[in-house]
Symmetry: D2
Subunit: 147 residues, 4 copies
């Protein structure tokens, strides 16, 4: 698989708070922007998943804020599928300032896959095409065993 | 109909921006908070409408920002159904500081009613119960003819 | 002055609501994205203004929602400074679907310019460089007299 | 110290996403609502801190989403200062549905204290009054040693 470019986000004014920096909740949204971007680039974006009848909710999120991001900064978000076993998926993120390369925030999200009735979907068996895509993303990164 | 109390909102930190005041887009969300509150109090909240198969999208919004709102301020939002004709509805809002009574923002939203297929619904004929509720809210306020 | 390209925004998942479309409050944020973009392109972005000691608050906003925007849609926002007199400025926006060209939303925002103490700034006299930039943007579009 | 009531939040329409449930990023904002509430109730809210010249940024956040929250649900957020040593603080959160008591989300945030120049503040020595308040909150909950 070809390498996927880092996702780029320009900080908007409405993302700042009165501390004069980006409000910490927005990084969680940027994780989503980057995650949906790599899935889309890999050929299976969120809307395609939802058309297929699969939703991919967030089970867990964690973020570690290293340095602050300011209005008009441009950040690059590197995204890796670090764990995937056909039922669950962990994606990790590193947000860096585009200009300086300084790490702003690292984090991860854990996901499962549900059908329209909220039942857990086993992609390997039930949706092999999606499984291949996600397996490909996982193989591309440094994957670990899922717990 | 009994009078409906003003809707109360306490400003949250995440609603501020780097100007040190509430970001102007949040007032549009507060209009929604107040609007859904009075509809709920009147016996026909948004979720009840959506269960009935009706959605009530915003066609137009306007807001006039008078004075700035700060973190931890508590505002009171007065809401009036100023126009209603069974097909369209205009709601107006006045946001005041709870402590000083000073007007922070005034505005209005215009709505129609759609069914699940996106077709315009005539409440008077098709949903007389909802029509009565909204007509009641409109009679309660200072209504004008809709254009 | 050279023509400024339309501002492009890709709809994010977190911008949708349970109606399955973009929440109407986000268009107000997109107006800001587009507005700060053209000011930046013209050489006087918000952060440069704020460094100079000027803030440019929103006095009024209005939006008219024509058709709905969905997740993963890409919209183009055309921005025009339609009124400018050195003290106040009106900017108008047309949001179109990038693919179909269909108009999603039109609107406008009205602004003044304040110094750090909250006093009104007359750009023509006090900040002629910024005045030139904004006058240039206004001349470029179809301007009307301000009221 | 008297017991502090759980913080209550009513889910707003703009907090939902097209999955028909609350977008996961909003729980991070609710953590902030609950955290600022208990600090305020304890006599040292964020705005008082910022007046004193202290900011209390988020260093880390984690959230575990158990069950989904829907529009118009009311949630109760229980907040505990689980770790505090004068320099850092960990606050944990449990979000429950008000009606059923079912756990919706658990999580935590880690904080430090900075002065206006971004330097780390040692509250015990430099701001003993705030230190007492936070120590009191920590003693009230089940605290652990900070790492």
């Amino acid at each position: 698989m070809n390498e996927i470019r880092d996702y780029e986000h320009r900080v908007q004014y409405y993302e700042t708070d009165q501390m004069g920096v980006v409000h910490h909740s927005n990084y969680i949204r940027w994780f989503e922007e980057a995650r949906t971007y790599i899935l889309e680039e890999a050929g299976f974006g969120y809307s395609k998943m939802e058309e297929t009848g699969i939703i991919c909710p967030v089970l867990e999120v964690e973020a570690s804020y290293r340095t602050m991001t300011k209005y008009e900064d441009v950040v690059l978000i590197e995204t890796n599928v670090t764990q995937y076993n056909g039922v669950k998926m962990v994606i990790s993120y590193t947000i860096r300032d585009k200009e300086s390369g300084e790490v702003r925030c690292t984090g991860s999200t854990k996901h499962c896959f549900l059908d329209r009735d909220g039942k857990i979907v086993r992609l390997r068996k039930d949706f092999p095409v999606i499984h291949e895509v996600l397996q490909g993303l996982a193989d591309n990164g440094e994957t670990e065993k899922i717990n």
